[in-house]
């Protein structure tokens, strides 16, 4: 069963911005799915359409087999959404917000109270239940929205940047929490700008850029596609000649730093050899970014492998 299926989904806003340009996406039941993309890529727009907050221009959306065009109520009952922006009544108490939300999904009060207690405990908000929501901290507000999205126990939970502005400790406990409810059977779709988060949690990943899906696969497959890694080398002093490393892409952010991309068939020895030849002395070395981040940058910027000559700034070659 597909938890979510998008076909040729397009959205043009009234101001003419084409936010989605024909998106196809399938998320299997039980999956933990990451939707990544730079700011303005169209992630929130896609989520908005699925959750009926944005009208689509064309295309189809089905949630657990229910089309939002013909079977909207059923599609909506399968869905829980944690939006990017805060959208609860800031003058209401936490308990009121949750009980009302349950009511909108037709859950009778006694059941709603039990569930409220359960989810507020799970999200460490039970002590705050009588607090006016406006006076919660930013991280608590995010957790409140998660509790609200879960009170009707949806089969599909969509979270739009749930960990934005949340401290590391809370973020980790949120990860634990999401992993747990995913194991208990809830399908989860998540957007995030913390690629580490996606790599940690998600089994499938789609990358969306300028309204198009540019990558969509298993996380492990996607990571395997990443043929190259970038190393940052710190040198003791400027090079005494032109570095010659054919087949490698080398950039020089400054006189004593080199960034070298190394693919699977290449090796570091060659780099060190070439460096020694021009008097380069490597004092330290590190990976430029984590693997997913690297892939993301590459896909989104559309870069490819260069000539092996340091490209910028020109001062790196000035001594030649």
């Amino acid at each position: 069963m597909k938890a979510l299926s998008l076909r040729q989904l397009c959205k043009t806003y009234n101001n003419g911005v084409q936010a989605l340009k024909g998106i196809d996406l399938d998320v299997e039941e039980g999956d933990f799915f990451a939707l990544l993309g730079p700011n303005g890529a169209g992630k929130s727009t896609a989520i908005g359409i699925v959750s009926s907050l944005v009208n689509k221009s064309s295309g189809t959306v089905t949630v657990f087999g229910h089309s939002i065009d013909t079977d909207l109520e059923a599609a909506k009952s399968c869905l829980g959404v944690v939006p990017q922006e805060i959208n609860f009544n800031q003058f209401e108490k936490i308990s009121t917000i949750l009980l009302n939300q349950a009511g909108f999904y037709g859950i009778p009060r006694p059941v709603a109270r039990e569930r409220m207690e359960y989810w507020l405990n799970q999200l460490q908000l039970w002590e705050k239940r009588e607090t006016i929501s406006r006076s919660l901290s930013g991280g608590m507000k995010r957790r409140l929205m998660i509790a609200r999205a879960l009170i009707h126990e949806p089969q599909l939970l969509i979270l739009d940047e749930p960990t934005a502005g949340v401290d590391i400790e809370v973020r980790r406990s949120m990860w634990e929490f999401l992993r747990r409810i995913n194991e208990q059977g809830t399908t989860i779709i998540l957007t995030t700008h913390y690629l580490e988060e996606a790599e940690n949690l998600c089994r499938h990943i789609a990358i969306i850029d300028e309204g198009r899906i540019i990558e969509n696969d298993r996380m492990s497959t996607v990571l395997r596609k990443l043929q190259t890694e970038t190393f940052v080398l710190n040198l003791r002093g400027p090079l005494r000649g032109t570095l010659s490393l054919p087949g490698y892409r080398v950039t020089a952010p400054d006189e004593t730093t080199l960034e070298v991309e190394v693919n699977k068939d290449q090796n570091l020895n060659e780099i060190f050899g070439a460096l020694s030849a021009v008097g380069g002395e490597v004092v330290s070395m590190r990976n430029k970014a984590n693997r997913l981040e690297e892939l993301f940058m590459r896909l989104v910027e559309g870069r490819d492998v260069g000539s092996g000559q340091p490209t910028a700034p020109p001062t790196a070659q000035a001594d030649a």
Binding site: Y13, N14, G48, S51, S52, L53, V54, N55, G65, L72, E73, A74, K76, S77, L79, V81, P83, E85, I86, N87, F88, N89, Q90, F91, T96, L99, N100, Q101, G103, F104, Y105, G106, I107, P108, E114, R115, Y118, N121, Q122, R148, E153, P154, Q155, I181, Q184, G185, T186
Partner: protein
């Protein structure tokens, strides 16, 4: 602690027992959803009672003192009743109109502005039910204030009721009409100015000119003709007919206008919600 098992509804073949249960579940869910909106609206009315209940009561009391007691005493009889008895139904109706309208316009616009309208839009509640929920909230406040104003009126005069059923039907229908009107206003409103514009520049003048304080028979011919284009005249007249047994216009026609307004406005509200005007991008 273990997760409560999610209440998931399996698909059902048409006509089967499962389908019947599904339909029953949906009806129950809608009932609970509707009740939730109404409870939320009434607790909003009570939470901010200083803004929702007190001002209309003060205004009405002032009207009774000034027009009824001070000035009314010099006006003399209107169609066999004291001036206070004549304007009391008009003043009650005026408070029902302003408060039914005002409640929906500010609550729904507030929900748009604070974005919590999204809670309802994401939920499986159908749009017509959301409209009904807000209308019920508007009626609740309109009728509550109307009732309080009636009680205040009783401190100043005796209210004679000629046709109780007409009184009730007229006040209910009027309240629905203006709650729906407030909904339309809130849907289109983009800022707070736009939710005060209609009440200030359209609703209040129309109410004043709709025969709250006078009988249109006191007006010159042309002004009577103009007045008859004002729908509020028919509502006030029908309501007053229920009390006094006399009316400026045909009461049957009044009810036809009210019913038609309810149908047209309700259809418009649901259509706007389905289309997403003012609520969805």
């Amino acid at each position: 602690m273990s997760t409560a098992p999610p209440s998931r509804t399996p698909g059902a073949t048409p006509g089967s027992h499962a389908e019947v249960t599904l339909a029953a579940n949906m009806r129950r869910a809608r009932r609970v959803g509707f009740a939730t909106i109404v409870i939320r609206e009434s607790s909003r009315i009570m939470r901010i009672w200083g803004q929702t209940l007190v001002p209309p009561v003060i205004t009405a009391t002032l009207y009774f003192i000034i027009f009824g007691n001070l000035i009314g005493g010099r006006i003399g009889q209107m169609g066999g009743y004291t001036y206070l008895q004549y304007i009391a139904p008009g003043l009650i109706m005026m408070s029902v109109i302003t408060n039914s309208y005002g409640n929906v316009v500010s609550s729904f616009f507030g929900a748009k502005f604070g974005r919590h309208i999204e809670e309802l839009l994401v939920s499986p509640l159908p749009n017509w039910l959301i409209v009904l929920g807000y209308v019920a909230g508007g009626m609740l406040r309109g009728l509550l204030v109307g009732l309080i104003v009636t009680i205040i009126a009783l401190f100043f005069t005796h209210l004679h009721v000629e046709h109780l059923f007409v009184v009730i039907a007229a006040v209910l229908l009027t309240s629905v009409v203006f709650a729906l009107g407030g909904f339309v206003n809130a849907v289109f409103a983009k800022n707070f100015d736009q939710i005060t514009f209609v009440p200030t520049f359209i609703l209040t003048p129309m109410t004043y000119l709709g025969g709250v304080f006078y009988s249109i028979q006191m007006l010159p011919e042309w002004a009577q003709a103009v007045s008859k284009a004002n729908p509020i005249l028919y509502m006030v007249s029908a309501f007053r007919y229920g009390f006094l047994g006399q009316s400026d216009v045909d009461v049957g026609f009044s009810f036809a206008i009210m019913t038609l307004s309810v149908v047209v406005l309700f259809a418009a509200c649901v259509w706007l919600m389905n289309k997403g005007t003012g609520t969805r991008e």
